[in-house]
Symmetry: C2
Subunit: 196 residues, 2 copies
């Protein structure tokens, strides 16, 4: 079991309907030492990919993405979910349909910040059905840039996102893949992966 | 002129209606080396305050807050603007009225993550009229915690936020205070402060 899986068992809270709450250390309150360790681990897994940019989506991906980018010494770009005063000029906009809520969400990045020479590592905290990730990939490829890897802290292995992305041939690394959760017995089962 | 003022002059874009775009290095694409330098500078300014927690608001405050928290070796909490699946249980909710848009925005933090023993350093990228900051202060004080400092990257000195917070007696440190901007001549005037 790796450091993130251990932390999930220690501090994660399992709720009904496959909700895993990690808000005490990952996506509301954030443990900065853990972020550093996650950053280092993604660096080790993708260091041969000549990454030029780390891309994520607001809000909970930002902290992890910044930590990863510190190791690679490259800039972070975070996609926005709605157009704000801070984005003008030409934009890449991906419209992604949520599988669970049936609504359409936008993923927006200014065209200035991804170019056709970029090798992009996409980072996010969670992967479930992968809608946000699909939007980030679409934007990267619209820019003519290359997606050199996808790094996820926690993948819900029983939802389809990871399978779709691996089927499509992307190099997806998830630090913890949850196979099943049991809210009654407070147990989490992880997919066996290489020990970090 | 300090490092952030220099960077604003070099890469900031002045738009009409007092809009200063710093999206190439601060709040859409982020320069991680600059983030580290900002983190170190806030550490130097607040290191005697026995900070136990860094508080910010999604999304563009998160990167700076994480960098500050690395120096203090304390957790970051970021407030959310709407209730999500990731927040349940007891919450602090501040409703803040925007001066410019007249709408009401919510600032939400789970009660679990601020306690009455916390000494909170509040961090954000921009301070204009200060509505978000007022909400963050309100939440911190509702929790019985102490606001030991407010750290802002860029303050718009010609808007009222900074004056209000200083009048109220808070220890506010802004790394760059813009006194005026001229979109026609592409000039920015900064308030004279101690050189970093």
């Amino acid at each position: 079991m790796n450091f993130l899986e251990e932390r999930i068992l220690k501090d994660g809270v399992i709720k009904p309907n496959n909700v895993l709450k990690v808000d005490s250390f990952l996506n509301h309150q954030m443990d900065i030492e853990l972020m550093d360790r996650i950053g280092e681990e993604f660096y080790n897994r993708f260091k041969d990919q000549k990454v030029t940019k780390v891309l994520t989506i607001e809000a909970s991906g930002i902290a992890i993405a910044c930590s990863v980018a510190r190791y690679f010494k490259v800039p972070v770009v975070f996609a926005k979910k709605s157009k704000s005063i801070n984005i003008d000029g030409e934009m890449y906009i991906a419209e992604v349909e949520s599988f669970t809520h049936k609504n359409i969400n936008k993923v927006i990045v200014s065209k200035k910040f991804i170019s056709d020479t970029d090798k992009v590592l996409i980072i996010d905290d969670f992967l479930a059905n992968g809608c946000a990730m699909q939007g980030l990939i679409s934007i990267t490829e619209s820019a003519g840039a290359e997606v050199v890897g996808l790094g996820i802290a926690i993948e819900k292995g029983f939802q389809i996102g990871g399978k779709v992305l691996r089927n499509l041939g992307y190099h997806l690394e998830s630090l913890a893949i949850v196979e099943s959760m049991d809210p009654e017995n407070h147990t989490v089962e992880f997919r066996e992966t290489a020990v970090v």
